[in-house]
Each structure stands twice: as C-alpha cells, then as structure tokens.
C-alpha cells in the first residue's frame, strides 16, 4: 500500500502525514466527441466538507458519477485511504464506503420510506429487537432531515419531490459512509429544510467522515464547506479554503471573468394580435393557474428549478400534459390542450429538453429527422416519399440552423449536443405556420460555443416575428437572453421582471430564499 503525503485538512485531529480519505488523480471521461472531464485531480481529507462548484456542463456530475461507481473513468486513478478502491459498480462503491445523494432522484417510488432507507443494504435486521433498533435509527435519520413525522410505511410515490430528496439524504446519513457525496441536494428544498440538512451534514463531518457538497448556490457552499474546488470545462480551476473566498471571487473562478452588469437594449413589445395568449393554464398537482400574453418578436424565459412549474408550462403548451386545463390561443385561435398533434398543427413549435427520449430519432439521419414533422410536404400524390423534395427541404432547414450540408446523411447520434439541438430547433420551426416556439432547457448538454449559437438562433427567431418562450435553470440564459423573466417556485409564478434584471434577484426567487410564504 503506497502512502501519499496528504495535507491534513484544518480541524482534523491527530495531524501528521496520513493518506487522504480520497485521492483522485488525473480523471478523464469523454462521451462521443465531447470531453466531459479533461483532467481532474481531487484530494479529500477526513472530516472535511468539500464544496464542488462549476457552471452548467463543467463536468461536476460526471466526476461525481465516477466517484460513486456509476461511470468508469477513461483514465486516472482513485484511491481511498491510500489503497486502490474498486468503484466498478454503485454496489462496489458503497462497499468501499461511499454514499451518494444523486442529482437524479434515486429513491424508488414503488417502495415505502422504510424500504428505501434500507435499499442497498445486503441484509435485514434479524429479530424483533434488532428490527426495533433499526427502525429507531431510521426515524432518527429522518428526524435529522426534518421528516420526524413521516411514517416508515408511507409509499415514496406519495411524497413531494422535496420530501423524496430528504428521504434520499436520510438514507445517505444511515449508510455510515466514510465519504458522503451530495449532488445538488438543495434544489427542491425550502430554507428551513436546507438549514436542517446543513446541521445534519456538519454532524457527519464532526464524526470524522468526509462530505462532498456539489451546488450552484454559492452562498450555501461558502457557509457550509471547509474547502471549495471549482471546475470548468472539465478541468480543475482551483481548490481554495472557503474562509479565503467571497461569493464574487467564486463566481469569477467559475465563469473565468469578473461579472459586469449586463447591458442590453430593451425591446418594445410590439403591438397587434398576441402570438399566444394563455389564461388560467393549470395542471393538477404541478401548476397553479398561470397567465401570459406573448406578442410576436418577444422572448420570455420561465425560470425555475425542477418541479417548480416552469417546465410544466412549456410541456402544457406543447400538448404533452394530459391534465392541463385553461385557455391557450395562438393568434386568437383556441388550441385544445393535451394532444401534441393538435399543438403542432396549431402553429406551436416545441423543442424538448430531453433530446434522447422525446426530441430526436437518434439512429435516423439529420435529413430524416428534419422531415419527420413534414412528411406530407415531402411526399407525392400517392404517398411516395420524394427524395428530391426531402433533400431540398432538409438542406434548406439545415442551412438556416447552421448545420453543415454534409451532415444531412449522418445519424443524429453522431452529432455533438449543440448540433443536435440546432437540428431540433430548426425542425420545430420549419413550418410556415409556426408562430410560437416553446423550448424546455434549450441548451442542456450543449457546450459553450454551441450555446452562443443557439442563443443567437433564438434571438433571430424573435426578430423574424415569432414569440419565443423557454424554461431554464441556467442563470446566464435567464438574465442575458429574454425580454421578460418569469420566476417559478412550488408550482406557481413568484415574480415577473422586464430585463435587465440581476441574477441575484432571479436566483433568490427560484430558490425561494426571500420570504417563505407562497
């Protein structure tokens, strides 16, 4: 066993040279052509709370997945307490003492709270006394995260998103892991809940265990963590003691420049018939009544975390929420909700945030994807597809979207995320009758260069007289691009601002940090 000379973290009793809790050297991982993690070296000490920050798409989640056995690195080593660790599967990582609260919820809906807390354990408590002890302990962990009133026999599918998140944190607490990783654990939580979670995390660290805290909420990171590592474009930018950092320094590390107030020219909202008029749009259980009138040439951003309702508005407009109620009219004409085919025909172009499952046909060529919504236009009288018409249409659309001609025959799966998204957008719009474009997370999984192109594309669409509405969780995208930002929390609108608006305001509202009344 090789012993790496580690620097003990402040506050670790004993001191002296001893191996760090976790030592990851030169991790690399790529997906297709996209180098998600380029070169990440990370050292975590026993008993420290380590913050892990970076802009969207920086590679944070990829690193976390490699540490927790969900992804195998392409290159690099990971050592735990000085010895090489088997992290080939989540189960193996758990055996090696790593517990994770995933960004994607990893509690199982069909099981009860108690079963979920025990999930992953290889044996069950034997005997009445042991069961009682286990239950007491489980209740204690639930109480630690503020769920003291939750019955262990409640099925998880009956819980709110926030409660499910807390159950998952409680499970990680119960693992007694030497390393606990929390990936964006607070996104769906309220202030009070967050305070409780922080207290629980500090208790874990005080017991000599290590915590990795991944978050966008920089104030929280500085308040909670001992050290902070910033990663950008798959590389480590810096690891700094939290005490030596301010929020603005941290932001600078993350974006690579100091933040200047964004100046943008405010546009006049054009007069005339609204492109889309939404009255009392609601979805049982996820969206309270919402109104919006969008005129041609305007860009509206709906800001909100997962489950806030922002994404639900977009999906409802696109006809993908079967329980949506309310009045939606495109150019004065009422649209029946709940049927995607109806929305498409009404002149609503929808671009999914989830290209893999509902956006594109990945195995099909770019040309086939572009023509999928317009099969009638590329076929002749007897229903035969015309190669010539399809080629012409696809080439035209591709040119507008900035996709190169020679990619038309390539399967969509071989394109980069940015190019895939360009194809989706171009496809959604290229109907003569499209007046409204709705997008869900327009730049998810798209690299920096691609983002700029897509933002220009959206702006261009508005200039051409369309109404653009999108939901996003990405702060830059929320304050730079739109004319109006509407913030969501807990299924309802909490604020509406004409730009320019500060990112602090938006962030505050979508994370529900000022005031707790809703």
């Amino acid at each position: 066993m090789t012993v790496e000379p580690g620097t003990p973290a402040p506050g670790v009793p004993g001191g002296g040279p001893r191996p760090p809790r976790l030592d990851a050297q030169n991790l690399q991982k790529s997906f297709g052509d996209f180098q998600a993690v380029d070169d990440v070296t990370l050292t975590l000490e026993a008993g420290e709370i380590h913050g892990f920050c970076g802009p969207n798409g920086a590679g944070k989640s990829t690193v976390v997945k490699m540490l927790s056995g969900q992804l195998a690195p392409d290159a690099g080593q990971i050592a735990i307490d000085g010895g090489t660790a088997d992290l080939s599967t989540p189960y193996a990582a758990q055996q090696a003492g790593i517990a994770i609260v995933d960004q994607e919820l990893s509690v199982v809906p069909a099981l009860t709270v108690g079963e979920n807390l025990a999930l992953g354990a290889t044996s069950r408590p034997r005997g009445r006394a042991a069961t009682r002890a286990w239950r007491a302990e489980a209740r204690q962990h639930l109480a630690d995260v503020g769920l003291a009133n939750l019955d262990l026999s409640t099925p998880v599918e009956r819980l709110t998103l926030g409660e499910r998140q807390l159950v998952e944190i409680a499970r990680a607490l119960g693992r007694r892991a030497s390393l606990m990783i929390l990936d964006e654990p607070t996104a769906t939580l309220s202030d009070v809940e967050i305070d409780r979670v922080f207290t629980a995390i500090r208790k874990v660290a005080a017991a000599g265990r290590t915590v990795v805290f991944v978050s966008h909420r920089l104030g929280e990171v500085l308040a909670l963590c001992d050290r902070v590592t910033v990663i950008r474009d798959g590389k480590v930018i810096a690891t700094t003691a939290a005490a030596d950092l301010t929020v603005s320094q941290l932001v600078e590390q993350m974006i690579g420049r100091s933040v200047a107030a964004h100046q943008r020219i405010s546009r006049d909202a054009a007069d005339g018939v609204p492109a889309i008029e939404i009255r009392g749009l609601q979805v049982a259980g996820s969206l309270h009544p919402f109104d919006l009138v969008a005129r041609p040439g305007t860009v509206h951003a709906l800001a909100g975390q997962v489950g806030s309702g922002a994404e639900t508005v977009i999906r409802a407009i696109a006809g993908l929420e079967p329980t949506a109620r309310g009045a939606v009219a495109v150019q004065g004409r009422r649209v029946r909700l709940g049927d995607a085919a109806v929305s498409v025909r009404a002149g609503i172009g929808y671009v999914s945030g989830d290209r893999k499952t509902e956006g594109l046909f990945l195995r099909r060529s770019v040309a086939d994807n572009i023509t999928a919504t317009r099969l009638r236009d590329v076929s002749g009288r007897h229903g035969f597809l015309s190669r010539r018409r399809a080629g012409k249409l696809a080439a035209g659309v591709a040119r507008k979207a900035g996709v190169l001609d020679r990619h038309l025959a390539a399967p969509v799966a071989s394109l980069s995320g940015g190019n895939q998204q360009k194809v989706s957008i171009a496809r959604a719009l290229d109907r003569e009758d499209v007046r409204v474009v709705v997008l869900d997370e327009p730049t998810r999984g798209v690299d920096v260069a691609g983002r700029a192109v897509i933002h220009d594309l959206l702006r261009g669409l508005a200039d051409d007289g369309m109404a653009v509405i999108y939901s996003s969780t990405d702060l830059d995208e929320l304050v730079d691009l739109p004319d109006t930002v509407i913030t969501f929390w807990g299924g309802r609108e909490v604020g509406r601002h004409a730009t320019p608006v500060s990112s602090q305001t938006v962030l505050g509202e979508i994370t529900h940090q000022k005031g707790s009344a809703s």
Binding site: S30, G32, D33, F34, L71, A318, L320, A340, A341, S343, V344, R345, Y350, S352, T357, E358, G359, L360, F361, L362, R363, R364, D368, A372, T373, L375, R376, S379, H382, G383, F384, L385, L404, H407, A410, P411, A413, S414, L415, S416, G418, N419, R427, D447, A449, G450, V453
Partner: protein, 330 residues
C-alpha cells in the same frame, strides 16, 4: 486539407468516435456468412439436399410462413413487439374464407380481410393510442378468437363445395402460387416501408414513440395502420393454409405464431422497434426453412427441428442486440 481537418476546424461538429459507435464494424455479417457456409457444407454432405425438388420444397415451405412473417415484421418495426395471435388469426382467416367461399371468391377474400384486418387494426389502435402491452393484449385476442370460433362452429371443420379454393393451390410451372405471392408481397412491402410516407411513419413511431408523439404523429392511427397491414398479411397466409387442407379449423394456424416471428427475428428485425426489413425477413424465412429441411433430411424429427429453430432465433436476437448497441450501460 483533409476532410478530417475540415471537420475539426468547424466548431461543435462531431465525427469520429461517436460515428463509430453508431456504425460498428459489421461482424454480424461475418456471422451470417459463417452460418451460410455451415449450412452449405452440411447440405453438400446430405443426400438429396442439392436437388431441384428439394430446393422447391424449401421455397414452398418458406412461402406461407414467410407471408405471415412479413406481417410480423411490420409489427416489430412499429414497436408492437410480437403478435401472439398470429396462429389464431390465420385460423380465423381460413375459417372465414372457406366458410364464405360458396358465395364468391371475391366476397370471401374481402370478408376475410375485413374480419382479420379489422381485429388487428383494433389491437393496433389499443397498442398505439393507449400503449397497452402488445404481448398480453394479443394473447387475450388469440384466446378470445379461439373461444369465439369454438362457440360458432362447435368445433366442427368448416368445408366448402366451391372449387375456387384450387386457385390458391395452383402451380405456375412447377412452382406453387404461394411462392409468387410471397415474392410479390415482400417486394411491395419493402417498397412501402422504405419509400412511402406510411412506411416512414411506421419506422419513426417504432424507433421512438415519445419523439414521434412530439413530432405530431398520431400514434393510434399509425400503429393501427401497421397492424391492419399485418392482419391482412396474416389473413393471406391463413387462406393459403386453408386451401392446402381444403377445410378449416382452429388447428390450421399450427405453429405459425412463432414460425413467423422466428423468420422476422432471424431477418434482423428488433423487438425494440424501428428496425427490420421485408427483404431481410424473406431471407430469414428461407434460412429457417433451409435449416428445418436440412434437419429433416438428416433424419431428425419435428421436435428437434423446432428446438434448433428456437436456438437460431436466440442467436439472431443476441446478435441483433449486440450489433445495435442498445441497452449497453452508459
């Protein structure tokens, strides 16, 4: 400046690794060629294999199963997995056809298509619009058809006095009509799937149901139309089977359910949907018939033939799965 430079100089453009993931080296072709060689070698060492009469036997036995397999292919492509009702539907077709033949040939054909096609279209609509589990719903349909036929015919054989049944048994030269029907239907279906709007919709829905929904396709209608075609193809197979036996009962369908799927799966269609071809199913039907014939000539009984068929299907399924790279852990 090479193409590679060109590509790499344009930002955000992918090539290389991702492309290779999509189109890996075609080792599956090698397996197919190897399989063919094994069959040929075994054939060469088997008496009476390479004779005109035997080859005609193979083609003939492949033809009726093959027509049903074309139907199975459409269902696989549209993402409807497998119809467990093929044998029951073919029997039903034979019964309806033979039962109505006394009026006229045309009436019998139209009635048969309407009954079986209608049943299948209904199943397809349920599967498309509601996402009903295709396996379960077709098992239920098969059982329902069996019950219905038992009640109406009381288990008796359905026969006809009409001689027009012989039309389907006729031979052109020495080749039975069913072989020509198989060839014509395979080519027609191939063209319909690859170059019409209908075929494109079938593939799109089968490859990605949610994306097709978002693209504004009517899932219920598309899947129903695919099943309608599959039902008509199954009905044609059933009519040929009825013509051979000259009377019809529930037994006519025999092992058609699994024989049809076997040919389609050996032809490379995928249960995951969006993958399959009428011409490759034609090859699959011929391959399965050849292997069965080979085993028969070498003295194996029908049990052994079916057993080998199952193993060939298993092999085909695994190869198609590995080649498509579906479900590999991300």
């Amino acid at each position: 400046m090479s193409i590679k430079d060109l590509v790499e100089s344009s930002p955000g453009v992918a090539v290389t690794r991702a492309r290779r993931l999509v189109a890996p080296p075609r080792w599956d072709t090698a397996v197919a060629v190897l399989g063919l060689l094994v069959v040929l070698a075994l054939g060469a060492t088997t008496d009476n294999f390479f004779t005109v009469a035997n080859l005609r036997t193979i083609v003939t036995s492949a033809s009726i199963v093959g027509i049903a397999a074309l139907g199975a292919t459409v269902i696989l492509v549209v993402g409807g997995m497998v119809s467990m009702a093929t044998a029951a539907a073919a029997s039903l077709a034979a019964i309806v056809f033979v039962g109505t033949l006394d009026s006229s040939f045309a009436v019998a054909v139209v009635t048969t298509f309407a009954v079986v096609g209608g049943l299948y279209a209904l199943l397809g609509w349920l599967i498309g619009a509601w996402a009903v589990n295709p396996i379960i719903v077709t098992i239920a349909a098969a059982s329902l058809v069996q019950g219905l036929v038992l009640v109406t015919t009381d288990g008796a054989l359905v026969t006809t006095s009409s001689s027009s049944l012989d039309v389907l048994n006729r031979r052109v030269g020495t080749i039975p009509v069913s072989v020509f029907a198989f060839g014509v239907l395979a080519v027609t279906l191939h063209l319909s799937l690859t170059s019409t709007r209908w075929g494109r919709r079938i593939f799109l829905v089968g490859e990605n149901r949610e994306a097709a929904r978002v693209a504004g396709l009517r899932l219920g209608r598309v899947v129903a139309s695919a099943f309608l075609v599959a039902g008509i193809l199954t009905a044609i197979a059933g009519m040929f089977l009825g013509a051979i036996t000259t009377n019809a009962s529930l037994e006519v369908g025999g092992n058609l359910t699994f024989d049809a799927v076997a040919a389609a799966l050996v032809g490379g269609a995928s249960v995951a949907g969006g993958r399959g071809s009428a011409l490759r199913t034609l090859a699959g039907a011929l391959a399965v018939a050849t292997v069965s014939d080979l085993l028969l000539l070498r003295g194996f009984d029908s049990g052994a033939q079916i057993c080998v068929k199952g193993l060939v299907v298993l092999l085909a399924v695994v190869i198609v799965h590995l080649r498509s790279g579906e479900g590999r852990r991300a």
